[in-house]
């Protein structure tokens, strides 16, 4: 049946009414909106990508191919293949000094994203307030809203290197506060938290009996001090759901393999949701992840060294251009301030895209404290970074002359 536009529109309108109000209320993703402007344009250099520029190392891909040849195409146990859980447990213990029993404290999930969804679904009662330090990864707040929770942003600032402070956290706490979501190293700011930074946060968490979802997907990507897991802070392990995965450190975004670790009572409840939602994470990805943990550490370190080099290049570049840029300590994003240009983040990003042919994500889409900044991923080749910095430099100069 062919419909004219009016008919389509009226049909769409009526379809909207079937949607649950909670879903209808979710605002469209700012990143998605921006993506539509860029897609298909080949002369654009993009610093907007939130994933590694490395292809998954060959030995990992090969392990998956081999497993397919051997016919490993079945479901796995709900929590994931035991060997992988065992490997994750050993890895977390040796790298971050947190120990979880692979039998009842670890679930392998469909990316860290599923782990976050599961955690929030398991914890939220409608009306609960979920504390989210911002600027923040864009998914926490919509997932919170779907569950009937109320996202409460906690603004963080460039002058503190976007670290969360106990005072800022304390000031947002109400009797309804239930969950604190942490994401350090941070997307989009590159902020990290040290042991000393964590201690006062842990006190507030304890005092107000909060439960913490700690998204540590960028844990491997730190450049000065090694990552400190929130679960490793004294007294915090039982209060923390540790979420991580293979996407960033092992260049495995498309495989969708993540994991979550928590107290057995939480894990057994969460496992029910996982089981009824997805059964298990795909076996191909699990086998690949096991190979990455078993034989992929050297390659992982090589990739991290390479990000570190490009991190220095981009920060140096922004400062030469005359944009303030705090030194990001983790992840693979620089978050320079564009306030000196007099433009808003959105204006800057749009004009940079059309006039300068560089795509980067305007800071305001990441919530409180993001306005006036620009998220630039440096997970792209040195030559592309060079070219992008040249273009940004020319654009900023042009804006300043006009201004």
């Amino acid at each position: 049946m062919i419909m004219n536009e009016e008919q389509i529109e009226s049909k769409n309108k009526s379809m909207q009414s079937y949607l649950a109000p909670l879903v209808r209320q979710i605002p469209p993703s700012g990143i998605r909106k921006f993506f539509d402007l860029v897609s298909g344009n080949k002369d654009i250099i993009t610093l907007g990508v939130g994933e590694p520029d490395f292809v998954t190392p060959w030995h990992v891909r090969e392990a998956c191919v081999y497993s397919l040849e051997r016919g490993f195409t079945t479901y796995t146990s709900n929590a994931g293949i035991p060997e992988l859980r065992e490997a994750i447990s050993n890895y977390l213990d040796s790298s971050f000094h947190v120990s979880y029993d692979p039998r009842d404290q670890i679930i392998v999930t469909v990316g860290g994203s599923e782990a976050i969804d599961l955690s929030l679904r398991a914890l939220i009662t409608p009306g609960d307030e979920i504390l989210i330090p911002e600027p923040s990864y864009i998914s926490y707040s919509p997932i919170t809203m779907i569950g009937g929770g109320i996202p409460v942003g906690i603004e963080t600032f460039a002058k503190d290197q976007f670290k969360l402070t106990a005072e800022a956290l304390e000031s947002k706490i109400t009797p309804k506060s239930k969950v604190l979501i942490l994401c350090y190293p941070s997307n989009p700011t590159g902020a990290t938290m040290t042991y000393e930074d964590w201690l006062p946060i842990a006190k507030v968490v304890e005092k107000h009996d909060l439960i913490v979802i700690s998204d540590e997907i960028y844990a491997e990507l730190t450049y000065n001090d090694k990552h400190v897991s929130f679960a490793s802070i004294p007294g915090m392990k039982d209060r923390t759901i540790l979420v991580s995965g293979f996407s960033k450190a092992f260049a495995m975004t498309g495989w969708r393999i993540g994991y979550m670790c928590a107290h057995p009572e939480l894990i057994s409840a969460i496992l029910k949701i996982h089981q009824y939602t997805v059964m298990c994470a795909p076996i191909m990805g699990q086998i690949a992840a096991l190979e990455a943990l078993t034989n992929g550490m050297e390659e992982k370190d090589r990739m991290i060294e390479s990000y570190n080099q490009r991190r220095r290049l981009i920060v140096h570049g922004f400062r030469e251009i005359g944009l303030d840029c705090h030194e990001p300590q983790g992840a693979f994003y620089a978050f320079p301030s564009i306030q000196s240009t007099g433009l808003t983040s959105e204006e800057f990003a749009q004009r940079l895209l059309t006039e300068g042919k560089v795509a980067a994500v305007p800071g305001n889409v990441f919530g409180l404290g993001g306005e006036g900044f620009l998220r630039c991923s440096y997970a792209t080749s040195v030559s592309q970074l060079h070219a992008a910095l040249d273009r940004i430099g020319n654009f900023v100069q042009k804006v300043k002359i006009e201004g």
Partner: protein, 166 residues
């Protein structure tokens, strides 16, 4: 064998990827001063660890006919000098691109360039086989180079990533 500093190893890695990178760029990438990089490079050059800054050329795009052969050579070592003297007699020919001493079924692996098959063949029969201590040769012509020195010639790994992602 020299124990190289971490800085020198990193400089070598970066120059191996692209020899035209400036000391300023290397310094930024590695988070050190330009002077430190320049000093490291000078020492690497003086120690002949950096031997040369050469260009990797895909000659098959320039000259279709050009051929390269890998030749397995069995030799009797010379008294007192072992393989060195014979290796030298072979590598001094300009058409010889590389010479390796090998373990296993033969002794030297010799890479020879020529404009035609015939040219390489006559080099083998006239120059190489006629050296006294050469016992036998086995010539293999290279049909296509896919990867050399860690560099893939036709790298088809396009960036498949979405232009913007969370």
């Amino acid at each position: 064998m020299k124990q190289l500093s971490e800085l020198k190893l990193k400089v070598l890695d970066l120059l191996k990827e692209d020899a035209r990178r400036s000391p300023e760029l290397l310094a930024t990438l590695l988070g050190v001063t330009t002077e430190e990089v320049t000093e490291a490079i000078t020492e690497l050059e003086e120690d002949h660890i950096i031997v040369k800054y050469a260009t990797v050329v895909n000659w098959s795009k320039v000259d279709d006919e050009k051929v390269t052969a890998l030749i397995e050579v069995q030799i009797t070592p010379e008294r007192g000098r072992g393989f060195e003297g014979i290796a030298e007699r072979i590598y001094l020919y300009p058409q010889v691109k590389s010479v390796y001493l090998m373990s296993g079924a033969y002794d030297l692996l010799v890479e020879v360039d020529g404009h035609t098959l015939k040219e390489v063949a006559s080099f083998v029969s006239e120059k190489l086989s006629t050296i006294d201590s050469v016992l036998s040769t086995k010539t293999h012509f290279i049909l296509k180079k896919y990867k050399q020195d860690g560099i893939i010639f036709e790298d088809n790994e396009n960036d498949q990533r979405l232009l913007i992602s969370p």
